[in-house]
Symmetry: C2
């Protein structure tokens, strides 16, 4: 274990919740450290917004802003106020002792009096190469209808939703406001969504349901032009021309690295108290999509990130910790001088 | 009662919660109406941020932004996406019938299928003329240490906190990070704060407590220079040189106009379900400082405003309402064409 001074507060994550928590903690002179992760598989630091080309609904940006630009600005703000950023992934934690011990994938373990877990969630994708490529370039493939569905590009188009749960129903109904027609593609012959939502979808004049159907390919260079579909009963193949694909088959909260030390919901989101970010372990707070299976918006994540920082700050004040932050620290900070120089990628 | 078409969604308020709710509702094609209020006494549309000269902790603005500018931008964004803004104050509501009936202080009543209450809270002030004047011009008087305390202006100064509750304790401890010395001024000889917080304040080397003391005047043209104090026991007067005054004697949520129709907390905040904005009446949602007696930040309010809009939108979808918004409406909209023209005042 490292002999470096114990941090007052360590924040794990690099989306709106993490940076907002860092802004508040830094302004409270707590000299926070953010472990922003590093690219692993399809995951990149910056969170799900790194896949969003144009955000129209983050309040304060009437002209819209790109996901990566918003993340750059939040990170720059956190750094400007005194946040130290480490580009490493926390792969395990020991919350059974105080101070807590966090182990990154390289460099020495770090100890901390308080921890904010803001590691977010990952949208589940079908897993097709062209699906992921088009999602990354904003080519008409998305995992969030509320985020992207209102974009001018999708208006008046034929749009497809893949999924059969409540989220898929909500996304399909939401998209009827903009689409000429919405196709709900479901691998089974029955939705697992609640009856009221399923009924609403099944009786909607703009929605057509493709039962027993899976997507075997996504077609189009940029943007998407069609889906290759396969009937799961007959095996028959066909193409469906669409101007957009919304994948609504669920999310996976990034909580596995906690090793079961925090109490989770049945779907592996971190449990917190009502309207509070306290977790099952005192001194550990959680924010963002890692605690939210319902709203999943940048602005809601930023809000809970702020809450977590205020609670951590008050917890430290209650315990008389953190009034003299440890400036001499063994974690090598990645210093970024200004907004223009800040880069999340 | 008006014979105009029933609105899908009416939002009451004009702070971060209201505008964020409007942005989301407008992007969901719900054609929302915002009743932004109008100047009454010390209250002005735009919420408490209209008294904040420089916001450093709203994520996305690394260079900081003034409160009025942020509100202008949020309002412009809401309008850009299709929000209609009415500059009138909703003075009463009837939530006992559906659709709900809202009565503004002028013009005809409006009916609505869903209502989002985002009317905020008002900080309590001592009530001195120069206190309010300096608060409005950013002259070193504030009702929120977390919002304003970290500003460079206050660093190294002698700062005063007025109050004796947990918030006053938290603000005093927070300010010790920046101040040369913190004076807690309390009219009684005992804090009503929790023991742990009171003890922390009373033993803090940077904090001095002025028991049995009231502020009778705030001195200084701009900024504040001193406080006139009076001993409540002896009646003796004296001056205390300070570089900042933080008034922490509580907030009053703006919920009186509801006439007790929504369930409130003992301190008159609107009760909602845990991590949801649903109130005691189905179809009525609440967000922002009207539901929050703990965090009270622009970013947390914006987050809950988003939550309320998503819940209202899903409630309407469940009930098959709002897919064809009523564009022909008797409420005269205040149309604002672009961000530059938008003005909250």
């Amino acid at each position: 274990m490292s002999a470096s001074p114990t941090e007052a507060i360590v924040i794990i994550g690099s989306g709106p919740a993490a940076w907002t928590a860092a802004i508040y903690a830094a302004r409270a002179n707590l000299n926070p450290v953010v472990f922003e992760g590093e690219p692993v598989g399809t995951e990149i630091p910056g969170g799900q917004l790194m896949l969003t080309t144009d955000i129209e609904n983050f309040p304060g940006f009437p002209e819209g802003i790109s996901g990566p630009a918003l993340m750059d600005r939040m990170k720059a703000q956190a750094v400007h106020h005194g946040t130290r950023v480490v580009s490493a992934l926390v792969t395990s934690v020991d919350l059974s002792q105080r101070p807590f011990v966090l182990t990154p994938n390289y460099s020495a373990p770090v100890t901390a009096h308080t921890v904010i877990v803001a590691t977010g969630a990952a949208a589940k994708w079908i897993g097709l190469d062209n699906e992921l490529r088009l999602a990354k370039i904003g080519g008409g493939v998305s995992a969030c209808a509320v985020c992207d569905g209102a974009a001018p590009y999708f208006r008046g188009k034929r749009l497809a939703v893949v999924g059969g749960g409540d989220t898929a129903m909500e996304e399909a109904l939401y998209l009827t406001k903009f689409a000429s027609e919405v196709f709900v593609i479901h691998r089974k012959d029955k939705f697992r969504a609640s009856k009221v939502m399923a009924d609403r979808v099944m009786t909607h004049p703009k929605i057509r349901i493709e039962w027993n159907t899976v997507v075997t390919d996504v077609l189009g260079d940029d943007p998407i032009t069609a889906l290759a579909l396969e009937d799961t009963v007959t095996g028959a193949s066909r193409e469906l021309e669409v101007g957009g694909l919304f994948v609504a088959i669920g999310h996976t909260p990034n909580t596995a690295f906690l090793g079961g030390q925090l109490e989770l919901t049945p779907f592996n989101y971190i449990k917190t108290a009502p309207w509070r970010t306290v977790t099952s372990i005192e001194g550990v707070f959680a924010a963002g999509d890692a605690i939210d299976d319902y709203y999943r918006q940048a602005i809601t994540s930023a809000g809970t990130g702020c809450m977590a920082a205020l609670e951590a700050e008050r917890w430290l004040a209650h315990h008389g910790i953190g009034e003299s932050p440890m400036l001499d620290n063994a974690v090598a900070p990645v210093m970024i001088a200004d907004a223009d120089a800040a880069s999340v990628a």
